[in-house]
Symmetry: C2
Subunit: 306 residues, 2 copies
Amino acid sequence: MSVRVAHTITEVRALVAEARSTGLSIGLVPTMGALHAGHGRLIERARAENAFVVVTIFVNPIQFNEASDYTAYPRALDDDVAFCEARGAHVVFAPSVQEMYPRPAGAFVQVEGVSEPMEGAFRPGHFRGVATVVAKLLNIVQADRAYFGEKDAQQLAVIRRMVDDLNFPVTIVEVETVREPDGLAMSSRNRRLSSAERRDALALHEALEHARSLVAAGELSPASIKARASAIFANYPAVRPEYLEIVDPAGMQPVEQITAPVRIAGAVRVGAVRLIDNVLARPPLQLDTVTSTGAFIEKPERMEEK
Amino acid sequence: MSVRVAHTITEVRALVAEARSTGLSIGLVPTMGALHAGHGRLIERARAENAFVVVTIFVNPIQFNEASDYTAYPRALDDDVAFCEARGAHVVFAPSVQEMYPRPAGAFVQVEGVSEPMEGAFRPGHFRGVATVVAKLLNIVQADRAYFGEKDAQQLAVIRRMVDDLNFPVTIVEVETVREPDGLAMSSRNRRLSSAERRDALALHEALEHARSLVAAGELSPASIKARASAIFANYPAVRPEYLEIVDPAGMQPVEQITAPVRIAGAVRVGAVRLIDNVLARPPLQLDTVTSTGAFIEKPERMEEK
């Protein structure tokens, strides 16, 4: 069966309603297109867990804080539709900006706290735009499950908080990051890197992996880890780091001391391209449970393992 | 059949899912309880248009900008349940604050523009709290239609804008204001008025009706109408007016000149109680269509007639 392409809200709702009326479960994979293997894994996971899968392709203007980034963001709808079809998606929803925002957006979803550090600090308004468009897509498609990549860990935390706090009737599923053989996280923006920039782009992965290894070896001071990991950027003069932060995985707030698994996240600019990545890091013992006497209780099972 | 009372999200969702599975349409009437004939009309309208009606009763703390108003807000759950049962509602959803906000709210819906004048100016954060709790209730109940009173006209405009812009899959239905025989708009807060205050409370209705009659008589200058209508408050020294404004009915922005039906809205304080009310006013001709030459085209049919 070939994939159906819907360009309007009315069309996609009709296709979903038809599937729903026959009792099918609905999976939603929201993307900005220029699909790569990371998106492929989202679609495959959605296919495995739902009878009917909708992939949305929409470069959402209100989440771009830089006009040049919005303009330069790669678009490849024909390739994307073929990509979705090859992976068994049932519907591609590819609306125009006019369809999604027939007038300037007036209602916004704002998620406090989790939106504020890191990407929130460097990209003012970004997460408000993300939360708003995801709220719209959830309301349009009304899926049972929606799939997001771990690569955008803070985005995922923002969406989880929105869904929990506003009681959206959907289950959010996190899917692990897909990497190139050398470790670079897959990203639509990688297409914009020159070959020299492509080599430099690895600096972020290298710094994050170094930070993770330090945590695994028992270094529990974020300040020390950040300093040592960031030193790697000195080897890449064309790379301009924006931040490298160590945060609690749910609240995305910087931690003072590492006592439990942490998310280590960073952003760099390489030429005109801005890239982000992150890893989950665990201290050698699971120190996330501290008794009232201050003693640690080891928890052998790993939390948040993907 | 007697009304079912649900106190948890899980319970109300199960009751709605059961009704939905048998093909019933769902109507939602969100209230803060202390039900009166105005709510009665909402429930009756919902009953007429849906096979299954859910009334929610929740005094939403995050929409109160004054702690004393939240504390003093009347609560009467047993009476309210009997009231709903008598009018044929199927479910009363009466959650605790803990159930609705198990942790401090972190995700909010903010509606720009329409939220800002009048109530928005006098009650900072009020509409953010309203939009947020209505988003939650829409997501919890997933009704086909939701019913709101014209008395809270700006609230209704905020909710319409939220539903339109965020694509909530629900139809918003506006139900006309119910008044006491002397014209006072029904309000749960009326219960808190002493008998002297009850007499003074009529000042707002009187001022709004005077303003409406001026518009109907052809006075098209908001400044002049506001001055003449507000003069009525001088007869009521115990009444402290907060605003009397003439706005476009959808956008809730003050108009410079009346060329189409307008909403005239006001707020007053009588003792410790704050009251609001509004009327729709029409100029003698429907002047809402102006040709490029500046000539008026009469539109005989009435717009937004309830």
